[in-house]
């Protein structure tokens, strides 16, 4: 849109609107899911008798997160503190700080002894295994 429909006015009243539109597009370009989302965002993947829960936790170390497991409910809790120096003059604050907690209901009961959790580049991955007693049993049918 290079040409304005208002050449006689000497200014384009829609220039500012278009600028705002592109600014809005930029602002929302990162949010493909929901505008206000829970922290941390969680992905859940299912495998055979296994479930993988991953959460985006940039800037959080393993000591700052606690994982609680009860039957098939997993709770992820922690706190993220700003690590800025004193006498800092803030230009921009977009990262969220404070306590967070997410509770996930897993599709089956898991074995608390066989949980593997690790951090990799700010993504927490928790791998949980289905309880032996909770697994589906295959029943052979004998021909009479």
């Amino acid at each position: 849109m290079a040409l304005s429909e208002f050449p006689r006015l000497g200014f384009d009243p829609f220039l500012e609107l278009r600028r705002m539109q592109s600014e809005m597009n930029r602002l929302f370009s990162g949010y493909g899911f929901a505008a206000a989302r829970d922290f941390p965002p969680i992905n859940i993947s299912l495998g055979e008798n296994r479930v993988l829960v991953s959460a985006e936790l940039p800037g959080v170390t393993s000591g700052e997160v606690t994982l609680n497991l009860q039957d098939d409910v997993m709770t992820l809790e922690g706190k993220r503190e700003p690590k800025a120096q004193e006498n800092a003059n803030w230009q921009r604050r977009e990262r969220a700080y404070g306590s967070f907690s997410r509770t996930v209901q897993l599709p089956f009961r898991v074995d608390a002894e066989k949980v593997q959790a690790r951090f990799h580049n700010g993504i927490l991955e928790v791998e949980l295994e289905r309880r032996e007693s909770d697994r589906p049993k295959k029943i052979e049918i004998r021909a009479a």
């Binding site: 600028r19 592109s22 600014e23 597009n25 930029r26 602002l27 370009s29 990162g30 493909g32 899911f33 989302r37 829970d38 965002p41 969680i42 992905n43 859940i44 993947s45 299912l46 495998g47 055979e48 296994r50 993988l52 985006e56 936790l57 940039p58 800037g59 959080v60 170390t61 700003p82 800025a84 120096q85 006498n87 800092a88 003059n89 803030w90 230009q91 921009r92 604050r93 977009e94 990262r95 969220a96 599709p107 951090f119 990799h120 580049n121 700010g122 993504i123």
Partner: protein, 133 residues
């Protein structure tokens, strides 16, 4: 002091108006920027990006941050619930101060990029002594 580039006159067209070659999503990393007496510090959240996936350029006062996520889908699993996606990160800032580009420090820790940009000698506040005659 560090503002985002918005005016179209001094920039190539906004990334949103162009189509990308790859169909991976590109996110705007949430960032904190603060200024101390000697430095401008930028903290950008880029979960999933490894140290070899970061690309930072400073041209005049335009700082471009790019991150390529190295996170991969785990084999043997099927996604059943999704709140975030793997993708790349890109953001451009215009800095108001001149930066001493030889002493820029960049570290990537737990998915957060720490960028320490030391202000150039000329941009630092100078105390002017008043001489009494």
């Amino acid at each position: 002091m560090a503002q985002e580039v918005t005016s179209a006159a001094q920039n190539p067209p906004a990334p949103a108006s162009l189509e990308r070659a790859s169909n991976r999503p590109v996110f705007v990393p949430p960032s904190d920027i603060y200024e101390t007496r000697d430095n401008i510090v930028v903290l950008a959240e880029m979960p999933g990006v490894g140290p070899d996936g970061v690309d930072i350029t400073l041209e005049r006062r335009v700082l471009t941050i790019r991150g390529r996520s190295s996170a991969v889908e785990r084999a043997g699993y099927q996604r059943v619930h999704s709140e975030y996606a793997h993708g790349d990160y890109e953001r451009v800032f215009t800095l108001s101060e001149n930066i001493d580009r030889d002493r820029i420090e960049a570290t990537l820790r737990d998915g957060v990029l720490h960028l320490v940009l030391p202000k150039a000698e000329t941009a630092r506040p100078k105390r002017i002594e008043l001489r009494t005659s």
